[in-house]
């Protein structure tokens, strides 16, 4: 059998990854435990998955090999509940980044856990009783009524053997099969939930006096001591009676590969009903046929008519490649049970070999309603023609039409929209896609039929609902604009006793939505005061931002890295009226960069940095039309000042900083008053729903409801249970307010240069600044030397020191201290690389220093939660190097970041899988750098590459970068591969080159 794991190239590591196996208790189900095994350091592996370490022991399992033999392997056992909690929250197999995916046995038990919880949530559990070793007592326990729709069989068949490789008690030649162990697990989960998580504890000391059976049993079922003592009848008999009672639900075998299914065949009707009036009911005169079938549980499309089953000798029937044991018995018992749930079937039992049944309209209506509900819940197939399937839209139902005129008379088109103002909605009655008028509704209802032919289709009418609908029709209510938008976008509005009611937009809400949807046209963008040209997709982004903010609404610009979000935000700011100040909040490491970008692209836009000990602490300091830039740390610190100002626009850059709703940062963000708030982020927030909620709570408060409601309605169904409908609904809901383009989008890629050069300016920390200044002073105070040779040597030595300081003090000082927070470059680089990893891209980081590479290796593995970051440098042997490259290029489970030393050059390095390249430090020789970059970007590479070059502002790095850029001729004349050309400069030029400009040093206070 082929193993069809998703993305399974990491098979070499799989054998040493943590495995999980359930070990049922032989006393009471809730006492079952999980065994963690299969790797050398089990406790560490458990901690990595957020599981308790448990107690050490041995697992009665098997050893892989040919043949497979019995073996007792070291394991740690953990009680059921903590593992259950973790498994229920685990993402599904395809949602894990390949390098962190747990073993298949863990994922399989995660699915089993979710299935078990679904079973208990639905109330499918029964109390039971097991006789003990003495006749007068026994154990009360719970058993699950497993789902009978074939999912258990599908899961059991897909289960990795390691997950159920528990040897049977006193049998060393056999293990539990998956189905049996899953059944035991379901019972354990039911038992533990019914006991509210209490672990069973048979404690004879706590036994009380004899009480009536119902009381004793009830108490034992819900407490931690499951023992029932003082029985009047022998325990065996009690157990038998309880088993008999539960028999009809528990007796059925869930292993069955096929089941009884009923197929409804409508009569062929002449089309008497295409007019406006409902047809006379052809339904009453016609007869419907119900066919009896055997349906495969694993592939629902495969069926066999009952007639064929009756004719075949037992054991010879196969469906979907699986043998159907006792096919006739399946049908017989199925019919008997189904007849209890849907009485019209009883007639079939009077025949010897029933194959079909005639039904009248009333029977059909029952089948389509409660009959089909009961039958499918009991695990029978009910096949109904598409036009009669219980899609909401085919029934007669209530619908909300939202968006009449706003209650206070304000009309769309104003420059600012008060989102809290109210609009009204009304209830209507819908059938299919149409709205029924009062008269039409009355006519349909007057016919008093459960099934009606209307405009050429069959329609069900639930007459119990009809009165309710009649009452609702035409009634109205009000909601805020935000709620109205949310309802219109998601298509649902929650009403107290009706639950979620289908909603459509009309009037000004519909007009508003149309405006939003049509807002991203490039010609709509108002570009003002920008020095530079915007690409088409950028103009679309600006148009969209302007439309949103024009309406007083916020949004999230979530474009991929390198597409120019900063520029788009600046274009928004320059187009705003000058009547208020605006604020940009960003990570400390890019405050300087923002200022530079604004000065570069919008030189006429007044910009000021709100930072440093001299920063203002009064409102008056923020002038109309000015843009203030501050860091998240300072926003938190100075919130009392900032929340008093009426801002025009507040832009939150790298908005993942406010992803935790409860954090001070998020609270502060919500407190800043503004006409509109815009968030920017490069990480795919559609994949992190709690992050999404938190950010939208800042930009569009109220759109997504409360956090708890959001979690129940969207987060859990999408992240834990992969509910497609919920995912689609959420996408529709946020679509007008989130814009995300990828580098690979066709209309973006066409505008992008194949190599997108991004210069990232970072600042020195105080520590770095003082080291830098000291190095400069030292070099010049002693004189640069008398001979050319000496001079050259000293200059190169100075440059090396300065470069190392700009990289990280720990590299320069060769100390073993803390890495975090001591280097602006490292901070920013980590932020960028985190975004790259989160987006699922791969990147190369170049550095010319081996020590810096080692430093980065350690730091990145920790900070980015990667198992390891490979470092390719001169000391790596050729075969090792080839292996590293091969893994990077081909192995999905390999870390997505690779460090490469600039000097490790040479041929044979092909890292085309990377779409992001970072130059951590520079070799001031353009040819060498370009060659390094080109390793990633090669002919044959079809995707655009972002090249991030880190430059420390106000230092030699900055100046040389500028020099090389401005004086192209100089750059072209650089000969050879060294940096010696710098030494040709005279002393004064040199001095200005290396001088440190203090403006650009990070404020220590900000590192918070």
């Amino acid at each position: 059998m082929t193993a069809t794991t998703t993305g399974g190239r990491g098979s070499e590591t799989a054998s040493s990854t943590l495995q999980l196996t359930f070990v049922p208790s032989d006393v009471v189900p809730a006492g079952g435990v999980f065994a963690l095994w299969g790797t050398a350091d089990i406790a560490a592996a458990a901690a990595a998955l957020d599981l308790p370490a448990g107690d050490p022991g041995l697992l009665r399992t098997v050893r892989d090999g040919t043949p497979v033999t019995a073996a007792d392997l070291p394991a740690r056992t953990v009680p059921l509940l903590p593992v259950l909690r973790r498994l229920a929250a685990m993402p599904t197999a395809s949602d894990w980044p390949a390098w962190r995916r747990p073993a298949d046995s863990v994922l399989a038990w995660s699915t089993a856990a979710k299935l078990a919880l679904e079973t208990v949530v639905g109330g499918h559990l029964l109390p039971g009783f097991l006789a003990g070793s003495t006749p007068a007592q026994g154990v009360a326990l719970w058993r699950a009524v497993p789902p009978r729709d074939g999912r258990l069989t599908t899961l059991a068949e897909a289960f990795p053997v390691a997950g159920h490789a528990l040897r049977r008690p006193s049998d060393d030649a056999a293990i539990w099969d998956a189905h049996a162990l899953l059944a035991a697990f379901l019972d354990a989960v039911a038992d533990v939930c019914a006991r509210q998580g209490r672990r069973p504890d048979l404690d004879p000391r706590r036994r009380g006096p004899r009480r009536p059976w119902a009381e004793m049993w009830g108490a034992a079922l819900t407490s931690s001591d499951p023992t029932v003592a003082h029985l009047r009848l022998p325990a065996e008999e009690v157990a038998e009676q309880v088993d008999e009672w539960a028999g009809p639900l528990l007796g059925r075998d869930t292993r069955a590969t096929a089941r009884l299914a009923l197929r409804l065949e409508p009569p062929v009707v002449g089309d008497g009903g295409s007019g406006e009036l409902p047809a006379r009911l052809a339904a009453t005169e016609e007869r419907w046929m119900l066919h009896l079938l055997l349906q495969s549980v694993v592939d629902r499309s495969l069926t066999v008519p009952a007639g064929e089953v009756w004719e075949r000798p037992a054991g010879t029937l196969e469906l979907a490649g699986r043998r159907v044991d006792d096919a006739q018995e399946l049908l017989v018992r199925g019919l008997a049970e189904a007849a209890r749930l849907y009485p019209p079937l009883d007639r079939a039992l009077s025949e010897a070999r029933p194959t079909q049944l005639e039904l009248d309209a009333a029977d059909v209506a029952t089948l389509l309603g409660e009959g089909s509900e009961a039958l499918t819940a009991a695990g029978f197939g009910v096949l109904v023609p598409p036009e009669l399937r219980d899609a909401e839209t085919k029934r007669l139902r209530a619908r909300i039409r939202i968006g009449g005129t706003p209650v206070d008379g304000r009309v769309t088109g104003a420059t600012s929209f008060d989102l809290s103002s109210l609009t009204d909605f009304r209830y209507e009655i819908a059938l299919g896609d149409e709205t029924l008028s009062r008269d039409e509704f009355a006519e349909i209802v007057a016919l008093k039929q459960p099934l009606v032919r209307w405009r050429g289709q069959w329609v069900r009418i639930d007459h119990e609902q009809v009165d309710r609908l009649a009452d609702l029709d035409g009634t109205t209510g009000t909601v805020s604009i935000t709620e109205a938008l949310a309802a219109a976008l998601s298509g649902q509005h929650e009403v107290d006793d009706l639950g979620w009611v289908e909603t459509v937009a009309a009037g000004d809400i519909a007009a508003l939505l149309d405006r939003l949807r049509a807002s991203d046209r490039p010609d709509q963008a108002e570009i003002v005061g920008i020095h530079g040209t915007l690409r088409d997709y950028q103009k679309r982004g600006v148009a969209w931002l302007q439309a949103l903010t024009g309406l007083g609404m916020g949004g999230v610009l979530a474009d991929d890295m390198g597409l120019g979000k900063t520029l788009m935000a600046i274009a928004l700011l320059t187009s705003r009226p000058n009547d208020r100040p605006s604020l940009v909040v960003c990570p400390t490491s890019v405050v300087g960069n923002w200022e530079r970008e604004i000065r570069r692209f919008a030189p006429d836009l007044p910009v000021v940095r709100h930072h440093g000990p001299e920063r203002p602490n009064s409102r008056g300091a923020f002038r109309k039309g000015q843009v203030a830039i501050t860091s998240y740390a300072l926003m938190r610190r100075d919130i009392h000042l900032l929340e008093d100002i009426d801002w025009d626009i507040v832009v939150f850059d790298e908005a993942q900083q406010i992803k935790n709703r409860a954090s001070k940062g998020a609270k502060a963000a919500r407190a800043l008053p503004a006409r509109a708030r815009i968030a920017m982020t490069g990480t795919p927030i559609e994949n992190r729903l709690s992050e999404l909620w938190s950010i939208i709570d800042v930009t569009n408060p109220g759109l997504l409801g409360s956090q708890r409601a959001f979690s129940e309605r969207f987060a859990a169904p999408i992240e834990r249970w992969r509910d497609e409908e919920a995912a689609a609904r959420l996408r529709r809901l946020v679509a007008p307010f989130v814009m995300r383009r990828l580098k690979s989008d066709p209309d973006v890629a066409v505008d992008l240069p194949p190599k997108n050069e991004i210069t990232v300016h970072v600042s020195l920390t105080r520590e770095q600044a003082s080291l830098y200044q000291a190095a400069v002073d030292n070099a010049f105070s002693g004189g640069l030397g008398t001979t050319t040779f000496e001079r050259r040597g000293r200059i190169l030595a100075l440059l090396t020191s300065l470069k190392q300081i700009c990289n990280h003090p720990a590299q320069y000082l060769r100390d073993d201290g803390r890495l975090v927070g001591r280097s602006g470059k490292l901070t920013r680089a980590t932020e960028i690389l985190a975004e790259i990893v989160a987006s699922g891209d791969r990147g190369i980081v170049f550095t010319q220093y081996r020590e810096m590479g080692e430093l980065l290796k350690r730091h990145l593995a920790d900070e980015l939660d990667l198992p390891d970051v490979p470092f390719l440098h001169g000391g790596v042997t050729l075969p090792e190097r080839d292996a590293m490259v091969a893994r990077f290029q081909e192995d999905d489970s390999a870390p997505p970041i690779i460090l490469v030393s600039l000097r490790a050059g040479g041929t044979g390095l092909n890292l085309t899988r990377a779409t992001e390249v970072m130059h951590f430090d520079r070799w001031w020789n353009p040819a060498v750098e370009a060659q390094a970059t080109d390793r990633a970007h090669r002919i044959g590479q079809t995707r655009a590459v972002n090249v991030h070059t880190l430059v420390t502002s106000g230092t030699v790095e900055d100046r040389i970068a500028e020099l090389l850029e401005r004086k192209k001729a100089l750059a072209d004349s650089v000969v050879g591969s060294g940096e010696g050309w710098i030494t040709e400069l005279d002393d004064d030029d040199l001095r200005s080159l290396v001088a440190l400009s203090e403006d650009d040093v990070e404020d220590d206070e900000e590192v918070a």
Partner: protein, 316 residues
Amino acid sequence: MSTSDQAWWSRRWLEMLEATGAAFAQRLDRGRYFARKGVVHDLVIEPGHVGARVRDSRTHPYRVEVTVPTFADGEWTRVVESLAGELRFTARLLDGELPEDIDEALAPAGLELFPRADELDATCTCGETRMPCRHLAAVHYSFAEELDRDPFLLLQLRGRDRGSILAGLRAARSGGEGRPAARPGVLPLADLEGGSLVHARGDLDEVTVHPERVEDPAVLFDRLGHPPGVKDTAPYERMIARAADFAWRLAAGEGSDAADDELLVAELRAQRMSTAASVAEALGWPEERTREALDRLFEAGTVMRTGSGERTRYRA
């Protein structure tokens, strides 16, 4: 075994016995008492014969034997044919029950499943002249108890076991024998293929899950009726509802803190006063997390805290 719990077929058997002699009511009573006391041993039920030993007050037990005429092969064929006429009968048999209208079903075959009293031939070593003696009565009552649990004993007594009857019914419907199913639940090591035990054997993501809260989680009681010995199902329905709530919190992840807090407080109550470490161990949680949660509860005023450092103790 009270009469109200008896299945109709065991009651019928006893009715047949009781009809033989109202005059012997006293002996029948005694027999019933004996059977309850458990003095009937080594009950044997075979085609055509029921036998047992009855230990009366004396040490030496009496032997009771009852013979019952069996159906001949030809008669069995007629039985199976009659039963095959309606699927309903097979359905009941598969459920482990005798159809109530079995007499009607077998009438066309001219047969009765239940033997008449005069068809039975009974002996007992007690020497009592008039039958039934109390020992025979005891054996009847014991047999009736067994029959109540397994009505197929009657069929067996008449000469065929359940399996062969069901096979006969199947054959009557279609023809031919079948292959037996494999032993469920057990997977021999010999059937395992080495080398890929850690890998899934199919697509795990194929199984989709959709926990959904239901209005009335205890609707199962409507289908099954009252559990044995329980007059008021309301407390049991509440247990199921609370189990569903607990499972929902685990499934949807909301308020798991609240569930944890409940557990913590419950455990503290059970331990009276203890350290975070001991509570953590009892619940199987990491100690760090337990301490944090306990401190949080202390801040919230739900829990008391004394001591410091390693000697910090909490109390509910």
